[in-house]
């Protein structure tokens, strides 16, 4: 932008403006002078570039099932490799107990947080109990909350007999978040928010 400063307000708007109106214009004038110019949108941002899915939801039941199947396959491969090479060596640094909300007072879980590797990726393991198996196509989601809002997904999992273990790798700086939350997504209940099932405050490593 140019080094030249904008003209004074009276020059910008002309003479003969009533004092009451001029005071309001001065207030806005000072706001405009306090901020930089809004950027022009480049061509690539001339419209919403990525066509979001019509459903507007990242984790549709079909995607979730595919993700769970893929995660299971990957976990099987890595579990086999891990068992072959070193057994179950989860490098736990600390654990966080999760409590059931009023939606599932009998449920509980432990999130085990591993050490971060050189790239900043760290394993997390969820051991949950007392969870209800969800209808076909339903799934649970472990996510991180910040300021009362959804902030990052760690992974999804399903429960058959009320207890389960699931493990993922995340790259989040956990100190940036406020809480761990498990919610349930039930197929056919698209209109409502996924209910919170388990929650726990974040404990920094």
């Amino acid at each position: 932008m140019s080094e030249r400063h904008p003209a004074g307000l009276e020059e910008l708007v002309g003479d003969g403006i009533p004092e009451g109106e001029l005071a309001e214009l001065r207030r806005v004038d000072s706001l405009l002078r306090a901020v930089s110019a809004p950027p022009e949108l480049p061509d690539r941002l001339s419209s919403p570039v990525r066509e979001p899915s019509r459903s507007g939801r990242l984790w549709t039941p079909r995607r979730a099932l595919a993700a769970v199947a893929l995660a299971a396959a990957v976990a099987a491969v890595f579990f086999g490799l891990g068992a072959w090479t070193a057994g179950d060596r989860f490098d736990e640094r600390y654990a966080v107990s999760m409590s059931g909300t009023f939606e599932a007072p009998a449920a509980s879980a432990v999130v085990r947080v591993g050490g971060a590797d050189a790239d900043g990726n760290r394993p997390i393991r969820l051991e949950a109990a007392g969870l209800e198996p969800l209808p076909e196509g339903g799934y649970y989601v472990l996510w991180l909350e910040k300021d009362g809002e959804y902030a990052g997904t760690c992974g999804t999992f399903a429960v058959a007999e009320g207890e389960t273990e699931a493990e993922w790798t995340v790259s989040y700086d956990l100190g940036d978040y406020d809480a761990w939350v498990v919610s349930a997504r039930v197929p056919g209940d698209e209109a409502s928010d996924a209910p919170r099932i388990l929650e726990a405050e974040i404990k920094a490593s």
Binding site: M1, E24, R27, L31, P38, P39, L41, S47, P48, R50
Partner: protein
């Protein structure tokens, strides 16, 4: 659509209404990009963050609760999260993004200025195009009023009239904001 408030647009977006989403984009893409540039200091990454912000808005609009805060504040929070996520992905050594103005700012001042810029830029997007154009030229192009008149090929008096009308309209849109 032009007068529909932001909260209604978010709620319609949450129901999958593409038109509402595009109107939100029209209103907030520049403020989001501006915030991303200020935070990231790199236009390419800022553009990526802008895209990610609107993907997040589309995805999470259903979670917006009007009783928990204003639409603008909700959009600001979503954008801020997307930009922070993008900042975490940097591969080069950490470097503070340049910001404006150039004087040193503490975290509180920085946050306050970011929020102020967000509101001013968002309000500008609500103005009729001809008023917005003269204001942006008057405050940030460095052109004089006479040069703006020449550039837009309108009389000087028209430039002043549009400037006054634009400022008055902004006054209403920024009713609670004081510097």
């Amino acid at each position: 659509m032009a007068t529909e408030d932001d909260a209604a647009l978010i709620q319609r977006t949450g129901l999958g209404d593409r038109d509402a989403f595009e109107e939100l984009y029209r209103r907030f893409a520049r403020p989001v990009l501006g915030m991303a540039i200020r935070q990231l200091g790199d236009n390419g990454r800022a553009e990526d963050a802008t895209q990610e912000t609107f993907t997040a808005i589309w995805r999470s609009a259903r979670s917006y609760k009007p009783e928990r805060g204003t639409a603008s504040a909700w959009l600001y929070a979503v954008a801020r999260h997307a930009i922070i996520d993008r900042a975490r992905q940097r591969v080069e050594p950490a470097a503070e993004a340049p910001d404006e103005p150039s004087r040193d700012l503490g975290p509180d001042e920085h946050a306050e200025l970011s929020w102020l810029a967000w509101r001013v830029h968002s309000a500008l997007q609500r103005l009729p195009e001809r008023e917005r154009a003269v204001l942006e030229l008057a405050y940030w192009s460095g052109l004089s009023q006479a040069e703006i008149a020449s550039y837009l090929d309108v009389p000087l008096g028209t430039v002043k009239t549009r400037t006054r009308a634009g400022l008055a309209r902004l006054s209403g849109l920024l009713d609670e904001v004081r510097r």
